[in-house]
């Protein structure tokens, strides 16, 4: 690798070549309960709350952090899951960790309070930005893969970590476009951020698939370059092609190539948990069960349906 990130941090490399920062992060995570195996889960949404509550084998779910009241009443479906002992992970979507502006203090406070409220063993957010110059983009936007962007993400993640008592996992996003001036490969960019923050990785298999397909690269090559021993859990979602580009919609069925990539990931290093992410156009319960079972089959975890 000719253009490894400078600065004396562990370089991107095979999963087995974990640097000291990696080992420390993994150790801290398991000490706080994030090292347990959870199997197949699902993103909790109010529209499918009834379905999720009735999944007999469910051991973990994820909820959009911004949709949960930090101190008020929890939605009844979510309360029922917690009462059953299901682990619920708050997933932030609006912190804008990759923003050149510092994450506002009230957003950090809310995020940390929700983590406490749910007694979550870890939290997650994206390597992305969602606002700039006072305007909300309304969507997760990609960062340039530059050292300046690594510095910005690192500063914001550290700000958030100071308020958290549990580890944070960072999720690389799916992007339809790239910035014109990337200095680092995707694997270098991600690994550099994880090394400098000690964060865990939330690996979205559908994002890996979407980016590789739209860039014309091999998704398994990225898997080989990422520190898979630091994956806290994985997202699996559906998408669709429009005008030659694959859109990671979360409103379509999970396509077979994404399930194949789940199997390829698990053959290398199986994450402790994998979950279905569905965000609209909800299909009948039977179809959701088929998708959950397909993820179980591809990963080798027991079915939760």
């Amino acid at each position: 690798m000719a253009d490894q990130p400078a600065g004396g941090h562990a370089p991107a490399g095979p999963a087995t070549a974990a640097g000291p920062a990696t080992a420390a992060a993994a150790g801290a995570a398991s000490a706080k309960g994030a090292g347990a195996e959870y199997g197949v889960g699902i993103g909790w949404r109010p529209e499918i709350a009834g379905f999720v509550t009735e999944l007999p084998g469910l051991r973990f779910a994820e909820v959009v952090a911004e949709s949960v009241h930090a101190h008020g009443e929890l939605p009844s479906g979510l309360e029922a899951l917690l009462a059953r002992g299901v682990t619920v992970i708050p997933h932030g979507v609006r912190l804008s960790l990759g923003g050149a502006e510092p994450v506002p203090g009230d957003r950090i406070e809310h995020f940390a309070a929700v983590a406490e409220r749910l007694a979550a063993p870890l939290v997650s957010e994206h390597i992305a930005f969602v606002r700039a110059g006072g305007i909300e983009a309304g969507h997760l936007l990609p960062l340039p893969r530059t050292r300046e962007a690594v510095d910005a993400v690192t500063a914001n993640v550290r700000r958030v970590q100071r308020s958290l008592s549990v580890p944070i996992a960072l999720e690389p996003i799916a992007a339809l476009f790239d910035w014109p001036d990337d200095e680092l490969t995707e694997a270098q960019f991600i690994t550099e951020i994880l090394d400098r923050t000690g964060a865990l990785l939330l690996l979205d298999v559908a994002n890996v698939y979407a980016n590789a397909r739209n860039r014309g690269t091999d998704p398994e090559e990225l898997l080989d370059q990422l520190p898979l021993d630091r994956v806290a859990y994985s997202h699996v979602a559906g998408g669709a092609e429009h005008q030659g580009l694959y859109h990671d919609t979360h409103t379509d069925a999970v396509p077979q190539p994404v399930l194949d990539l789940v199997a390829a990931l698990c053959a290398r290093h199986r994450p402790p948990a994998l979950m279905l992410e569905r965000d609209g156009d909800y299909p009948p319960a039977a179809d959701l069960r088929i998708e959950l079972d397909a993820i179980a089959k591809a990963s080798g975890y027991p079915a939760v349906t």
Binding site: G99, E148, A155
Partner: protein
Amino acid sequence: MTTPRSPGQPGGGPGGLADRQAALVEALTAGRSVPEGFDGFRFEAARVALLRKRAGEVSRQWPMLAAGLGDRWKREFAQWAAARPTQGSLRDGWDFARDLVSRGALPTMAALELAEREASFHYDGQSPPKPRRAPALRAIAGAVVLHAGRSTWIMRRP
């Protein structure tokens, strides 16, 4: 273009990450031109996908408005929203509905939904809507709604 500098946060220098992110968000949401060096086709695909997603979110907050426009919903909302950055889906739908009223184009099916909200909340179009304390009567396209205390009465359906 410049954005406020943030001490202690990298990327704040002139022409740095802050300015470039702001230019990108303006191009995506406020109708500004695509920043130099970006793939125009892919950027446009992202812009359109964003509007489609936004239309979906607004339709969940304003189901009767979306249903009233039917097949035209996504196209008409996207057209209206293309150069207006989101203020959240409640306010986006509210602003769009008021715009339709001003053009006499609000579907009858959506009149009651808007009248109920206009009667129950004070919304100045600039800041988040606040629940009304004083009684209010609102008539929108044939729907008449009275709000008093914590109750809302439909006086007339369109």
